[in-house]
Structures are given as C-alpha cells and as structure tokens.
C-alpha cells in the first residue's frame, strides 16, 4: 500500500489526514431537486435583464388577474353607461358601443386569458413530457409508434385544425378552448423533448441507474426528467404564449363564447362594430396591446431559460481585460 510522505495522506483531496467523526443526524434525503431547480431558475431570471422585465410584466398581469375588483370598480358586463364615450377620468379607456366600461373589460378579461395560458400551457407540456420522454427512453416499438403518432399530429396545420374542432363543438367555453389548444399543440414540444431525452439516453448515469437495479419508470421520472427542468420550463412558457395567441384568435373569429369577458372577445365585438372605422380605436387597441404585452412577457422570460440550457449565450458582465499589442 502507499506510504504517506511527510504526513500528507493519499486519502482524497480533503485537508485532514483522516476522516472526521461523523455527526449523528442524517442529512435526510437530499433537498428535493425541485427546490434547487427553482432557486437556479430564480437566479437566472434575476441575472438576465430581458427575463427580469418579462417576469415583472407577468407579475403585473397575475396581480391584475387575482384582484381585478380592486383595480376596476365597474362591472364589465353591465351596459350601464353611455355608449362610445372617449377616454376620461371616469372611464379610463372609454366605453364600448354597448355602454360597457372598456377598462373594466380589459382588467376582468385578464383572468380568463391567464387561466387559459397556464392551464393549456401546463397540460400541453405535461402530455408532451409523457409521450416524448417515454418514447426516447423506452425505444424500440414504443418509440416507433409514439413517434409516428406525434409526427402525424405535427404535420397537420394547427390553426385550421383548431377552427374545425372548435366549430364542430359549436364554439367553446373556456374549457373547450383549453382542450382544443392542448390537443393540437402538444406534438411539437413532444418532439423537442424526445430529442433532448435521446441525447441523454447514453449518459452513463442512466446506465448506472439501470445497473443499480432501478426500474424503468423510476429512471424516467426521477433520473431523466429532473435533468430537463430548464427545458421543460422553457417549453411551458412557449406553450403558454401560443395558448394566449390561439385562444384570442379563436375568440376573435367568433369561436369562443362571446359572453365571456376576455381580450379575444373584446376584439370580436370590436370587429363586429367596426370599431376602428367608427372612431373607437381603443376598443381594438386595448385588448390587442394586452395580448401583445403578455405574449412578450412570456417570450422575454424564455431568454433566461435559453441561457441555462446553453451557457454560451450568457452575457457575462465581464471584467475588462486589456489586450496586449
């Protein structure tokens, strides 16, 4: 065996020559990877200016969605006022052709849009994870059939499909919209996640888990998916963004429930009343701008996760290094 030279032991790189006595209590199970991943994400968002802006915007929308009554005091549905009023202190955005307060409509509509964004976003990503990662890890016939299924759905153009299904269901309440969007959108993300999972498949830690005796389901859920968290969050944000756009589009062309208070339905009614031509531009601009800004918020947030996935994109705040010559 090796002999220590002048007191320096060959035991590992730690300083002390021998192991220290162990402290009694176990550290317990390792801090769940979820909390660690969350803190990593929070750090990424804070350090990236674009993402911080996106986070702030999204935060504002969420607050509005949670407490609409505090901000807008009018009932959005009540035809209580004189129609077609311009901007004033009483009506921050004016009133619609039906005498409804537009500001209240925009504020209350936030809730509907956010619900669609988050629920559809989560559902889409969830299905994509199950199908994509399972296909990659199980391989063989599973991969073949799941991929075929995914690819077929992928090839069908989403928007026409959305229209067809929504029309078939005679226009939709929020739930129907969410369902329709989820069913048509998951395939793209599933493909992405499958590629990522495939690239992980040959990593030794998965073979190590298998050789340790873990079951396949355990490996997929505990070993593979946590290493993909930042990609999953990025996918969620993208899906949420598209959910907002698709939902608003469907509502705009009349396939949503016209009685719901939402930005898309505002656009629908604005269109029906030729708002832009008859001097009520706010009716179209206000909800349109909100859709754009919410979409931008999701897109900006996504920058932080791009960087986690690809460190080369990080804009490091560099110390100046003076070049010679």
């Amino acid at each position: 065996m090796s002999m220590p030279i002048s007191g320096v032991s060959t035991a590992g790189p730690a300083g002390p020559a021998g192991p220290e006595p162990a402290t009694g209590a176990p550290a317990g199970p390792a801090a769940p990877p979820a909390t660690r991943a969350l803190s990593r994400m929070a750090r990424a968002v804070r350090s990236n200016r674009k993402a911080t802006v996106g986070a702030v915007l999204l935060g504002i929308f969420i607050l509005v969605g949670l407490f609409p009554g505090l901000i807008a005091h009018d009932n959005p549905n009540a035809d209580a006022y004189a129609p077609r009023l311009g901007i004033s202190t009483a009506h921050l955005l004016g009133t619609t052709a039906y005498g409804q307060d537009m500001f209240a409509q925009v504020i209350w509509g936030t809730r509907n849009v956010l619900i669609i964004a988050f629920v559809a976003g989560l559902a889409t990503t969830g299905i994509a994870v199950l199908v994509g990662v399972a296909a990659a890890y199980l391989g063989g016939l599973w991969d073949g059939s799941l991929s075929l299924f995914t690819d077929v759905l992928l090839v069908i153009p989403i928007f026409p499909l959305l229209i067809v299904i929504a029309a078939y269901l005679h226009g939709g309440t929020t739930i129907v919209l969410i369902l329709v969007i989820t069913v048509t959108s998951w395939s793209y993300t599933a493909r992405q996640l499958r590629s990522q999972a495939l690239s992980l498949r040959n990593r030794d830690f998965l073979a190590a888990a298998r050789v340790r005796g873990e079951r396949r389901l355990y490996i997929i859920v505990v070993e593979v998916i946590p290493t993909m968290t930042s990609l999953l969050v990025a996918c969620f944000l993208t899906n949420a963004l598209y959910a907002v756009l698709f939902a608003s589009s469907l509502q705009f062309i009349g396939l949503g429930d016209p009685n719901t208070v939402s930005w898309g339905t505002m656009l629908y009614w604005a269109q029906n009343n030729a708002a832009l031509q008859t001097g009520q531009p706010m009716w179209a601009i206000a909800p349109g701008a909100c859709i754009a800004v919410l979409g931008a918020a999701f897109a900006l947030l996504n920058y932080a996760f791009d960087e986690i996935g690809n460190p080369a994109l990080r804009s490091v705040r560099r110390t100046r290094v003076k070049r010679a010559g």
């Binding site: 065996m1 090796s2 002999m3 220590p4 030279i5 002048s6 320096v8 032991s9 060959t10 790189p13 490091v316 705040r317 560099r318 110390t319 100046r320 290094v321 003076k322 070049r323 010679a324 010559g325």
Partner: protein, 355 residues
C-alpha cells in the same frame, strides 16, 4: 528571460548555427475574463525554439498548456486574451497582428494539429477536398499542383493516396490523425504545433504516429511543439521539456535531464505517477490533492498545498525560475543558488539521477 542551454544537449538538425530561433516567446501571459474577475491562465511563459527542435510541453488539465498553444497560434477567442508578452515568429511579433497579416503566416509557415481529428476535420467533405480548400485558401490554383501535393503529403504520412476520396468517418482513428498531420505539412511549415494529437489513439497506433512525426521532422526540418499530459510519451522524442503547473513554467530543460533528475516536487510527483512495466513493482502515491482554482489568487507558490517538501516560506513568497545546473526550476528549494542543497533533497526522495 534567457532560455537555458544544456551542456549535454544534442544539437538538433537544422542547427543553432543559423540566425536565431524560429519562435521566441517572452513573458507571454493570457487571461480569461470571468464573472468573478480576470483569471490568469498563462503566467509569463518564456522560451525559445530553434529550427528542427522538438519541444514537449507537459502538464495536467488546467495547467494552461492548451491555452498557451492557442495563444502562440493566435487562435484565442473571447473571453481569453493575451495580456502581456510577445510571440516572435521568425523575428516578427504575432501578438496584436491583424487577421489579414496572420493569414500569410498561418499554414504556410506555422500550422496546428488539433487534439481530436474528428472535431477538426469536416465530416461531410472528403479528405482530398479539404486539402484542396486549404491550398486554395493560400493561393494555389493549379489543379495538377493540388492533386500532386495532396498525394505527396499523404504518402509522407504513410497513407495510400487513394484515400483522398475517403470521408473522415471511413478512416480509422490513427489514419485520421495522420491526415491531420499531412494537412499541416502541405506548405512545409517551419513550425508545427500539436495539441495532444495522440490522446485518442491506442498505444500501438500512438507509437507509430510518434515515430512517423520524428522521421518527418528529420526529413523536412520543421520545429515541433508537442503538448501532452503523457510525460512518458514525449520522453523519447523531445529534446527539451517544459513542465507546466497552474499556468506557470514549473520546470524547463533538456528532456533527459528533467527525466533523470527532476527537481521541482511536482515533476517528481508526476514522474512517480507512472507505473512501469519493467523493473520492480513498487507502490506509488501519485500527487495528493487536486489542481488549484486559478480564480482564487493566493500568496506564495501554487503547488505549496500539495507539496511534500513544502517549507514555511513557500506560502509567503512567489518563487521565480531559478537556474539549477542545466535546468530552470520554479521552486524556493533552489532559490539563491541553493544548488547543492536542493538537488540533494530531490535525490533523497528516491529519484536520484546520476549522483
């Protein structure tokens, strides 16, 4: 800082009688700009290389040898940058040269062989068309000349010219490395820089590649800088050897001298880490601890935390390179001409040379 002449140093072909060195590196320093501050990856490295000489640069991961190579070849990319010193190639300082002027030098007079041929060769182009690209980029237009020279360099490295039509994935690892070397020799450069060209190869292919390089060097007279972590590999092929640690030159001298009587405790430790297939089977210890984190600048010698011969003064004073007979050693054991004392200590640890 002058380089060292070993008394027993054999004259390399293309002798020193000629005017001046092919490459003179003086106090070259490279820093990386990181979040926490600038990290000095190469710290004031100096050496001279004469025509036909074979220089081995040895060190482990993180020692700065690859960064040094890239700095010499002017291939550094942000966030790394040369922050001091000069690289005189045939009398002209390359540091700070514009890309257009560098292109004249690159490949014609100085070429680079990368570590992994699969990373350096274009996987969708045949070997022949890659040679053609290289030659066209340097102004050779005649198709005959291109074909002729391509076949010639492949033959020089022992590959049948029929492989000009092959794609990189169709060749074995050894053949790919050889074609990289052939490409580096297209314009018979004066200096060929090699970054671990054999690390992806098996031991037999490795050996035959080294012999090939040596023969080509004898025939064509170019100088070679060979970077590797495998000390035993260069031991038979290089005239001079530089051991790097933490971005600095730890020991530097004639190969045989560094091998037979290593003086820096890191060199001694490194020599000790190679089990031998001949002779007695003895227990070895390697070097405890791990390479330092260069972003945490500290006082004193970088190797002090792991050094079996560490003294109190080692954590206070930064050692310079001190001459010890025919070598330069960055170790306080040899400071102030403590020639004899240091050498005896080194000998006492079982690495006695011809004492």
């Amino acid at each position: 800082m002058s380089s060292v002449r070993a008394d027993a140093d054999p004259q390399p072909p293309g002798a020193r009688g000629q005017a001046g060195p092919v490459l003179a590196v003086r106090d070259l320093s490279v820093a990386y700009a990181m979040d926490r501050g600038a990290v000095l990856a190469v710290d004031r490295v100096s050496f001279e290389l004469y025509p036909g000489e074979f220089l081995g640069i040895v060190g482990e991961s993180g020692c700065g040898k690859s960064t040094l190579l890239f700095a010499i070849a002017q291939l550094l990319a942000s966030p790394a940058a040369v922050i001091g010193g000069s690289v005189d190639f045939k009398g002209v300082n390359l540091v700070g040269m514009t890309d257009s002027r560098l292109t004249a030098v690159r490949w014609r007079d100085m070429s680079v062989v990368m570590q992994s041929a699969m990373n350096a060769l274009n996987p969708v182009k045949s070997i022949g068309s890659q040679f053609k690209d290289a030659m066209k980029a340097h102004g050779v237009t005649s198709a005959d000349e291109i074909a002729g020279r391509s076949a010639e360099v492949l033959r020089m490295v022992g590959i049948d010219p029929v492989h000009l039509k092959s794609f990189p994935h169709q060749l074995s690892g050894g053949m790919r490395q050889r074609s990289m070397i052939a490409m580096a020799l297209l314009f018979t450069p004066d200096l060929v820089i090699m970054d671990e060209p054999t690390s992806a190869l098996d031991v037999v292919a490795q050996r035959s590649l080294m012999v090939q390089i040596k023969n080509l060097q004898a025939e064509l007279g170019f100088a070679v800088i060979f970077v590797t972590h495998d000390m035993s590999l260069v031991s038979h092929f290089s005239q001079r050897l530089m051991v790097m640690y933490a971005g600095q030159v730890a020991e530097w001298g004639a190969t045989r001298s560094v091998f037979d009587t290593p003086r820096h405790p890191y060199s001694i430790g490194l020599m000790d880490a190679f089990p031998s297939i001949k002779g007695e089977r003895v227990p070895l210890t390697g070097i405890p601890g791990r390479p330092p984190d260069l972003s945490r600048r500290q006082q004193g010698c970088w190797f002090a935390p792991r050094c079996p011969q560490v003294m109190a003064v080692c954590t206070e004073t930064n050692p310079d390179l001190y001459p010890v007979r025919d070598a330069l050693v960055r170790c306080l054991l040899y400071a102030a001409g403590a020639d004899g004392a240091g050498a005896d200590r080194a000998g006492a640890d079982g690495k006695a040379g011809g004492d």
